[in-house]
């Protein structure tokens, strides 16, 4: 019996000290972690919207969306973080869109777990750069094995077709959802 009490006391003591210490530490770390996350999003927004000077979170849509403004506070478009499936896991990208949602300004891959050296070519400019100024009306198409001809076409990556097509699908899916939301009067 005495032993059980001693066991309980030891365990609860260790537990309380550890919990208390962590609570203190997390009250210091949490704001910093939140700031890091915000900085990440911010960096991606300014990368996909080059003339952006300011942005705000659009609150009346059921997903994350940012409206972007230039120096004179004119709205220049949207930055839309969107997620979908890649070759091995989720891919998260930031899509920069024009005000009328018909032109992609640029995209930036935020998170991915593609095969290093093959799928990760989606991060590199020969592929990613194709999205700069791409026509997204009605949607983006992909072509395989031949250079893109139309202004809404993207050439896939040799050896990483699935990853490349995944990006196109994520972009289309995001834009379509956003268009539907805007058509219902959101984001104004």
């Amino acid at each position: 019996m005495k032993n059980i009490i001693r066991m309980l006391i030891t365990l609860s003591f260790v537990g309380v000290v550890s919990g208390g210490g962590l609570a203190l530490l997390s009250s210091w770390a949490d704001p910093l972690i939140a700031a890091n996350k915000k900085a990440d999003t911010e960096r991606a927004i300014f990368l996909v919207q080059t003339e952006a000077d300011d942005y705000e979170l659009v609150t009346d849509v059921p997903f994350e969306l940012y409206r972007v403004f230039d120096e004179t506070k004119n709205p220049v478009g949207y930055a839309l973080p969107w997620e979908g499936n890649g070759f091995q896991g989720a891919i998260r990208i930031m899509v920069g869109l024009s005000q009328d949602l018909n032109t992609i300004k640029s995209i930036e891959i935020i998170d991915q777990t593609e095969t290093p050296g093959l799928g990760t070519k989606i991060l590199e400019d020969p592929f990613r750069g194709q999205f700069e100024g791409l026509n997204a009306d009605p949607h983006v198409k992909w072509v395989k094995g031949a250079p893109a001809t139309a202004d809404n076409e993207v050439e896939t990556i040799t050896g990483a077709t699935i990853s490349a097509v995944a990006i196109v699908n994520i972009v289309n899916d995001g834009i379509e959802t956003l268009r539907a939301a805007i058509a219902e009067g959101a984001g104004q």
Binding site: G19, L22, L25, S26, F87, Q88, I162
Partner: protein
């Protein structure tokens, strides 16, 4: 459909052992005989499913409402350790044959990182309760598959003339590498 995809993805495409490197210790340590590899796989699967259920409840019913997510690791590992102990006692009481088959493997499971890994990935992927269970079953099935395949190969290897300095751990690692390559064939098939 979504649930089946989660299961297949955890079992094949993102196999815990061969793609995430979780549970390497038992994978290498208990894979020399089929007769011990299969029970080990089953015991791990069993604990994985229970862990998925319990840690999901703890995370969503205690940690999130009280905003103490930073206690995640501490609480998960404690729960897993006591859970394994509890399962061991329960199995011993309920079924002697089952205890004899799984018993000695249970204590080893506490330090099997695939269990904690499962709990953490489940939180990371924001699975719902049912999805979590399927994820647990899939991860367990994947582990069982990998360790069984490994044991089968190692039993055959006994007959092979492996260079002396490569016997044991080194050749096991090389075989695991080839298995990992083979499992890569599943990638792109399904993704969740």
């Amino acid at each position: 459909m979504e649930l089946i995809l989660i299961f297949l993805s955890a079992a094949l495409v993102n196999n815990f052992v061969l793609a995430y490197f979780l549970g390497i210790c038992p994978f290498v340590g208990v894979s020399n005989k089929l007769s011990s590899a299969v029970p080990m796989g089953l015991a791990t699967t069993f604990v994985m499913v229970i862990t998925a259920i319990v840690t999901w409840l703890i995370y969503h019913l205690i940690l999130v409402p009280y905003e103490v997510e930073y206690l995640q690791y501490v609480s998960f590992i404690l729960v897993i350790a006591s859970l394994v102990q509890f399962v061991e006692m329960f199995v011993r009481k309920v079924s002697q044959p089952l205890y004899r088959a799984l018993g000695i493997f249970l204590p080893l499971i506490t330090t099997n990182c695939s269990i904690l890994g499962l709990a953490l990935f489940m939180v990371l992927k924001e699975y719902s309760f049912v999805e979590g269970i399927f994820y647990g079953v899939g991860a367990g099935a994947g582990f069982t598959l990998a360790i069984t395949a490994m044991a089968g190969i190692r039993e055959e290897l006994e007959l092979a003339d492996v260079p002396k300095s490569f016997r044991g751990a080194p050749i096991t690692m090389v075989v695991a590498g080839l298995l990992a390559l083979a499992f890569m064939g599943f990638a792109g098939m399904i993704t969740v």
